[in-house]
Amino acid sequence: MKIDKRQRDGATILDLQGRITIGEGDVALREAVLAAVGEGATNILLNMGRVRSIDSSGVGELVAAYTTVTNRGGKLRLFSMPSRVLGVLQITQLVTVLDILEDEDEAVASVA
């Protein structure tokens, strides 16, 4: 899992690449989100476009990230979801909880 961080219009964007699976991407995602929060980021956007796969541990980390950010009064958005990754979230009904946007422009506008 490779994660690049950038800023756009006051939002922190994390570009994720690879698998969010146990022992690999799940830890990287947790550390990246916690680091961004620690640096004062309140609006965090996860670019999921290059995520190849996710398992239940990765899903758990997305939920943890959502809780971490929202409990601090911030906003967490996901965008550019690959259909299979979206499918994993759909069948556990997390699409009703997580804020999932179509693309980066929409995600940035949602936290502006």
């Binding site: 239940s56 939920v63 994993v88």
Partner: protein
């Protein structure tokens, strides 16, 4: 596609997460010769990851001295995957429903749900001296693909 060659592949791995990739690679290679379409195979891979994760994390508690035994058995009509740990077992009936409103934001507890969703059948055996064996079954589709799973999207690897 020709009739699948009936075969049994056995693997024994240490309780480390990186070994999940080794088993997943063997599954991918096995699937290439089976009447299971790529889409279904993708979801089977997720189910296998969950079974291995449970065995390594919850069963063997990441004890590197404890092994996880994996068996891929190609039969006439489907593929059986068994994953056996050396833990103390658990009560499948006591696993919480991840779709319950109070559980939606929990960070764990979805693995068995995904296995049930992505495979045709799963069942458990518990050894008299401990250990959990989970068996995942996926039947072949008579048309040459597989019977279900239709989520669409990008390749995992």
């Amino acid at each position: 596609m020709p009739e699948p060659v009936q075969q049994t592949i056995r693997l024994s791995i240490g309780s480390r997460y990186e070994n999940i990739e080794l088993v997943k690679a063997v599954l991918d290679e096995t699937l290439e010769s089976l009447p299971i379409d790529e889409e279904t195979g993708y979801w089977m891979g997720i189910a296998l990851r969950e079974a291995l994760t449970n065995a390594i994390k919850h069963g063997n508690a990441l004890d590197p001295e404890k092994k996880v035994e994996v068996c891929l058995a190609v039969g006439e009509s489907g593929l059986d995957i068994t994953v056996e740990d050396q833990g103390s077992g658990f009560d499948p009936g006591a696993v919480a429903d991840p779709l319950a409103p109070d559980n939606l934001l929990k960070t764990e507890g979805r693995g068995i749900f995904y296995m049930r969703r992505f495979m045709d059948k799963i069942d458990y055996d518990f050894g008299a001296e401990g250990g959990t064996k989970v068996r995942l079954h996926k039947k072949f589709d008579a048309s040459g693909g597989s019977a279900e799973a239709n989520q669409g999207g990008a390749n995992e690897d």
